[in-house]
Symmetry: C2
Subunit: 233 residues, 2 copies
DNA sequence: CAGTGGTCTAGACCACGGT
DNA sequence: CCGTGGTCTAGACCACTGG
């Protein structure tokens, strides 16, 4: 009974990875060419190509025309941070999500914001303060600025029951963004909303979002004391 | 003069992306089949397949056999955190890197560590304290535990001039890991090494690393006050 | 059962970049 | 120049899954 399935790109990928892990091909070593590997594995070159391309995307190997394929020496590890909507993130830990709008006003962009995200000085922005709760305990304090020029319909939106993030995701999907993570000390406002003591260390994530080169929103999310963000690779 | 190049998968990918951004195909919409797109773009189905596969990997579209391809509704944004070696990270900001070994001892694994990374109680581990400086200013304090069973040769290693991370990368490449980010208050030790005031908020990254199911190392890296970690997507 | 994506093939041409 | 990876093609078969 031949259980031999045809050699797929995953087989090639895994076998190459195994040889690298087992130091059959040590760091910096030159791998056989795609053609040679295709012959060895008894498959088409395109199959080998796809396998190696995936490993290259993961940073496991470096590929260069003419020079060939080498085992990466100092691989830059890439961890994928999954950024989900708060509601989803909270419901994933089996907690009840609750949202509250704290404050909403239309103002001219403060100069720090204008320079932060690249706005005209004095452009009108919508400024929001929101709270996200998990099982009625403070989870995240959100301070957000939305560029009204970029999404004029925002002035009609109702943020009293749904967070601006969910609204924006529906209006301006697939934007690109820059994220900054840091640790900050709780000021009076944060301490109050997150029920921490003033000065307590809090985890903060800031995100600037653009859509087709145009700044859309800047958000500063501060999490409850003890919050930890995890990921794997 | 026809400047028409042959339609490549990038052309297809970008055009499909454009139509999604322009709401020609709104969220949840069903895209044409690969065959239809191939006909429209005048290329092979494999080319369309590769283009759509990339968009699917980015979370822009959802693909299912038989049902077809749809524009993702609530895309989970994926930010790639690039985890580089400290030396590299510091040199990238044009600062001079300096490393110092603070303390090194072999001990039985404390129980919290054993349970944290899945070790036998009492297994021998190498415990290290290190400092990383940028332009002679404290940049990161590193506290690390290495499972000696996983890398016996570690007891011979010399960490007085090179950090354990660089050594481990050379010995145990391409491992998988779990990362946790958080904000902590500086204790006396951290305050001393990072020249911060006690209680100051500090950004901390913890990482557990395995190699082929076996726990290798756990490291707690605490950064200087004001440190910010950035990424894009 | 039949439609749609998933993958493989064998061959081809191209583009980059050492020599 | 010319070897190596990058990509495309036209066709084929497979695998999952909705109806």
């Amino acid at each position: 009974m031949q259980e031999q399935k045809r050699t797929g790109f995953q087989d090639v990928r895994d076998e190459v990875l195994r040889r690298i892990e087992d130091r059959i091909w040590p760091q910096g070593a030159l791998l056989p060419t795609e053609l040679e590997l295709a012959t060895e594995f008894g498959c088409a070159r395109a199959t080998v190509n796809r396998a190696l391309r995936e490993l290259a995307e993961r940073g496991i190997i470096d590929r260069k025309r003419k020079s060939g394929t080498r085992v990466a020496v100092a691989p830059v590890k890439q961890a994928k941070l999954e950024i989900a909507v708060m509601r989803q993130q909270i419901e994933e830990i089996n907690a009840t999500y609750r949202y509250a709008l704290v404050k909403q006003q239309q103002i001219p962009a403060p100069s720090w914001l204008a320079s932060q995200i690249g706005l005209q000085a004095g452009a009108q922005v919508l400024h929001l303060h929101c709270m996200h709760y998990a099982d009625n305990r403070p989870f995240q304090f959100e301070e957000r600025w939305i560029n009204i020029d970029a999404v004029p319909q925002v002035v009609e939106a109702d943020f009293s029951h749904t967070g601006p993030n969910e609204w924006l995701l529906a209006e301006v999907p697939f934007s690109n963004a820059e994220i900054t993570l840091s640790a900050v000390a709780a000021n009076a406002q944060l301490a109050e909303f997150l029920t921490s003591s003033p000065g307590a260390p809090l985890f903060q994530m800031e995100r600037t979002t653009w859509f087709q080169q145009q700044p859309v929103t800047f958000v500063r999310m501060t999490f409850h004391p003890g919050y930890r963000m995890s990921t794997q690779y």
